[in-house]
C-alpha cells in the first residue's frame, strides 16, 4: 500500500485540489491550495539535506579509498561542514559568512557564468556553417541581429537596429510562440498523466 496506492493518492489529491482551486471560484479550495503551496516550500527545504548527504557520502568514500582526486574531496568535505556550521551559528548575514559569499562565491559564480561569452563565440564559429538553406537562415538571422545590437552595426547601416528589432518582433515571435505553445501542450499532457497516476517514471516504475 505504501508502495503504490498511498503515494498515488497523495499525488492525485494534492494535484486535483490545486487544479480546481485554479479554475473555480471556491474560497475553501483557494485556501487549501495556498496552504499546500506553502507546505511545498517546507518539504522542498527538507530535501536540501538529501543533497548534502549525497555529497558527503560520495566524497567521504573517495577520501577513505584514496581515489585519485581524494585531496579535493577532503577539501570539499571540510569546506562544506565548516560553512554549514558557520551559517547556522551566525545566520545568513553573519560577517564571515557574508565575507566568504562576497569574495569567493560571487566571483566564482560570475566568472563561471562569464565563460559563456567564450562558449557562445566558439559555438557560433563552428556551427554557423552555411551548407543548406535552413542553415543559411539560421546564420544570417544571427549575424543581422548581432549587428543590430551594437554601435558598429549602426555605423555599417543606420537601419540595422530596426532590422534586428523586426526580426525579433516578427519571425522570432512567431517561431518562439510555436515552441512555447508546443511546450505547454507537452507539459499539460505529461502532468495530466502524472496527476492521474498514469505516469510513474518518477517512482522508477513503482518497483512493480
Amino acid at each position: 500500500m505504501f508502495r503504490k496506492e498511498i503515494p498515488l493518492t497523495i499525488t492525485f489529491v494534492s494535484g486535483v485540489i490545486l487544479v480546481f482551486a485554479w479554475l473555480l471560484k471556491v474560497p475553501v479550495l483557494k485556501q487549501a491550495s495556498a496552504e499546500l503551496v506553502r507546505w511545498n516550500v517546507v518539504v522542498s527545504a527538507f530535501a536540501a539535506g538529501l543533497g548534502g548527504a549525497n555529497l558527503l557520502r560520495i566524497h567521504y568514500k573517495r577520501v577513505n579509498t584514496r581515489k585519485e582526486t581524494w585531496v579535493y574531496s577532503l577539501i570539499l568535505l571540510v569546506a562544506l561542514v565548516c560553512f554549514v556550521t558557520l551559517g547556522i551559528s551566525t545566520g545568513l548575514n553573519g560577517k564571515t559568512y557574508r565575507y566568504v559569499w562576497t569574495n569567493l562565491l560571487t566571483p566564482l559564480s560570475a566568472t563561471t557564468f562569464s565563460l559563456n561569452a567564450f562558449w557562445i563565440s566558439s559555438a557560433a564559429y563552428r556551427a554557423f556553417r552555411i551548407k543548406t538553406g535552413e542553415a543559411a537562415a539560421l546564420a544570417v538571422a544571427a549575424v543581422l541581429v548581432m549587428l543590430g545590437r551594437v554601435g558598429i552595426g549602426e555605423i555599417i547601416y543606420a537601419k540595422m537596429p530596426a532590422i534586428a528589432d523586426w526580426i525579433i518582433a516578427v519571425p522570432n515571435t512567431a517561431g518562439m510562440r510555436g515552441v512555447t505553445i508546443g511546450g505547454a501542450l507537452g507539459a499539460v499532457s505529461v502532468c495530466f498523466r502524472v496527476v492521474l497516476g498514469l505516469e510513474r517514471s518518477h517512482f522508477g516504475g513503482l518497483g512493480e
Partner: protein, 254 residues
Amino acid sequence: MLEAGKLFAVLFLGAFVIAYWVSSAQYKKTNKVPFRPLAAVEAIDEAIGRATEMGKTVHFTCGRGTFDGQTFAGLDVLRYVARQTALRDTTLIVTNHRAQVHPVTEEIVRSAHLEVGKADTYKPDNVRFISEEQQAYVQGVYGIFEREGVVANIMIGWFFAEALQLAEVAHWVGAVQIAGTTDPAQVPFLAVACDYSLIGEEIYAAGTYLNPDHMKVGTLMAQDVCKYIVAIVSVVGSVLITFGNKSVLDLLKR
C-alpha cells in the same frame, strides 16, 4: 463558479481529455501509430552503443527544474537510458541540480538495474547531487566531463544558461550530445551546439517513443489534436477580427 478567463482553459482541457480517451482506446486496439521519426531519439541508442564500445561513460541530466513537465519528460527518457546502460554494463552518471529530484533519479536508475536483472552492477555513487547553484552545478559537471571519460551526453529537461555551457564543453571533451528543452530562450543553443537536439515539445514525445504504452501514445495523439485546435482558433479568430468580429477573442478571455 468558474474563475474569470478560465473558460477556454476548461474547454481546452476537456477537449484534451476526450482526445486522449479516444486515441488511447484506438491505439489499444490497433497498436499502430505512424510516429514521425525523431533523429535525436534514434541517436540515443547510438550514443549509448558508442560508450559501450569504447568502455566509457554516458552522462545524463534532467536539468534544473523541480517537479514540472520538463523534468518528468527528462525522467521518462532517463528510465530508458538507465535500462539500456544497465543491460550493456555501461557506466551511466546522472547529475542533479535539484535536491528534491535527486532521490527520484536514484530510484529510477536502481529499479532499471533490478528490471534487467543486474542489481549487482548498480552503483549508487553514480547518481550524484551536485549543487542547487547554477554555476556550481556547471563546474561540477565540467569536472565529471573532464575526469570520468564522458563520451555521450544526454540532457533532457529544463535548462537555462547552462544549456550552452554544458553543450559546448561536452563537445570539446569529444562527447556525442543529445539534448532538448522547451524553454524558447535555450532551444537555439542546444540546436546549434549539439549533435542532436529535441526542439520544444519533442522532449515530451521522446519518452513516448522510447517507452510506448497506450496511455502515453494517447496523450501524444491528444497533443496533436490540440495543435489543430490551436491552429484553427488562431486562424479563425484572426480572420474574424479582421472584419471586426471579436467573438473568438472574447471566448478566450471569458
